[in-house]
Amino acid sequence: MAEAVDYKVIGTSPIRPDGVDKVTGRAQYGADLNLPNMIYGRVLRSPHAHARIKRIDTSRAEAMKGVYSVVSGKDFPEAEHGEIGGEGGGDISDLAKNIMARDKVLYHGHPVAAVAARSQRVAEEALAAIEVEYEVLTPVLDLDTAMASDAPLVDENCYTKNLPEKPDKPSNIAAVMQLGRGDVDQGFEQADVIVEGEYRIPAAHQGYIEPHACIANTNESGQSTVWCCTQGHFEFRAMTAKVLNMNVADLKFVASEIGGGFGGKTVVYLEPVAVLLSRKAHRPVKMMMTREEVFRATGPASGTHIKVKVGARKDGTITAATAWMAYEAGAFAGAPMGPGAMSVFAPYDLENFKVEAFDVLVNKPKVAAYRAPGAPQSMHAMECALDELARKLGMDPIDLRLKNAADEGTQAPYGPKFPAIGLKACLNAAKNHPNYTKPLPEGAGRGIAVGFWFNVGMQSSAEVHINENGTVTVVEGNPDIGGSRASMCLMAAETLGVPYEQVRAIIGDTESTGFSNVTGGSRTTFATGMAVVRACEDIIAQCRARAAATWGVDEDQVLWEDGQATPAPGVNADVKPLSLADIAANAAKTGGPLLGRASLNAQGAGASFSVNIADVQVDRETGKVDVLGFTAIQDAGRAIHKAYVEGQMQGGAAQGLGWALNEEYIYDANGVMQNAGFLDYRIPVASDLPMIDCEIVEVPNPSHPYGVRGVGETPIVAPLAATANAVRDAVGIRIHDLPLSPPRIVAAIDAAGS
């Protein structure tokens, strides 16, 4: 890796290249594009959480004036089983059935038909004209019911996976997972203190401000162009091709600007429907979800039920820990119970532990990734349990964690030994932070918690074009959610040795740049950044060759220093250094335009740890929690753009605080969500939050040229427990379930007082 010394632009915080367009309203988001002859698609959704479809009659809708096309499950190819591949894909058959129901509807809001019409009003009228006959079935709405042996089945063909043998009868438990090491019984016998807790967290939505939107334009030869808001247009293309049994070469996907995704825009919902409607209508079809549709029919994070037991000696050494965790998958298998199970004890060096995890079907929308999927829920349970353990032991909660903290060489609970990690550095930074020791107002409480996420690499491509005046264009394939264009420009500028202002980055569509996996998994600055650095190194190699040709020396006699080619020491050449602009200006004489490129499957994404400190004040009469202060400390490996790393930390903290304090899906007995709008599903707004203080710890990742670790997901992990622990400190009562909403807090205080 590059030496950790004196970077010229890395670690600075220049203005983002896409910033002006975004703040002036010029940037084009998913719903902003309009095409000639465009019509509007709308989706008919199930009014039942669980029902068999007996009949769909679309004839009246098809006959309506202004209606151009109607589709339902029968218009889609037979959905075959198989892996989608990449992020968030899962099983093709499940994905296809989630997009459009076939024989059963599995949640309230499940699509059953769609129409395209000349206006949204006509489309709505056409939806009302579609007749659907249902046989209503009993919905399965919670984990306890779903896991009972006599539960109604969400899917009669679901047999629990990962058991030694295929079970003899179907179940709502789609899969199980176990991890373990040592002897937990013996470990608990060695413990002086044992704490146990049972924690429930309801589903919460990613809460991106921009609803899903797309336009599909299919021509008479069956080729389609799709403009959409997505975290990954290449994977959207792959999913759409598989769902519609199309050749990927017949699909072109163009990513718009994106108004938030957080994992929720890694799967397709509208795009295959729009392609099919457009194919039948011979016109471009625009589809936009309402906020209500986003809540009812796009993936939230799993609701969970988690039990944790931890034992320790008087000195704080953990002797054993167990976790039992059930995750709601929604209507189709694929809850993130695996990452949840692998992360629950990840920060700690444990000799004896056991984890059991369950992926459970319920009649609710299929869950989707949400920042560090699975980890916030499981680590909330463990970090709350550790808070209780510290209280019982009379230990400082940071000291307890330092006593057991994983470090380089520690065998992670999920198997391998950790390489260099920054957990202890984060814990020490928290302990030394003035916010940890500053006095609290009377009645206020303080809590801390640790966060962790694996981070991933995966495939990325990048090209670097040197323009004729020496300026630089970076072309990559990852939609820019969190400022990645600026980070790519910084890494390109640093590698080439040119000013940041000389570099521009663009996001190519699926036909104009190489494949890249989604912007997700905290991978873009790491993996795509690595591709950009490699592409710049390709440019440098070419520039050295061009300079050598210009000077009549060998390539190995040319160095690249500070953005220019210079003769190596001792080379007998009376020449002036050649800048990138000099070489570009003479490119025609030395071989033509300069184009660097790289594609890779990035490996070695470094795990990221965080520590959060939350200060809260609780109104004991109303149960309202005021967040007085919040401090986020995180190992970024190396912060490429300091302000955007802090932005990720602050954004994750804000979302985590919302999850901890207010956000939850509320269902009635029929499985109908009762709060499908931002008035009733309350995400934090600016006036709810204090300034979130950030401290970036830098323990470089040796696998990245500049030491980058992903930073996008870890920030949401610790706020849940940090806030819960602060509320515990303030009110003196452990409230195990989230959210810590006013009614729950008042009820807990009343119960404790009665």
Binding site: M177, K417, G604
Partner: protein, 80 residues
């Protein structure tokens, strides 16, 4: 020899064996050796992530292995 450890959910592939030692100079050879020992293991193992000497690889196909290397198969991690 390379030390190879399997997670619980892959034990059905290995007939219950949690840990084996295998001769292999790279990951491709490791998969071949494991397929010879546990027929039918190649596909599920190739779809798994693997940690080689502490470093997690979504796909370790090209990675070299040293005598004494440790390989832990694990579920592929997704993210948001």
């Amino acid at each position: 020899m390379v030390r190879v450890v399997f997670p619980q959910h892959l034990l059905s592939v290995t007939g219950g064996e949690r840990e084996v030692a295998v001769e292999a100079d790279n990951f491709r050879e490791l998969l071949e050796a494991l397929e010879a020992r546990f027929p039918g293991s190649r596909e599920p193992l190739a779809k798994s992530a693997a940690a080689v000497d502490g470093q997690i690889y979504q796909d370790a196909f090209l990675e070299p292995l040293e005598p004494g290397s440790e390989v832990f198969f694990m579920q592929r991690i997704e993210g948001g």
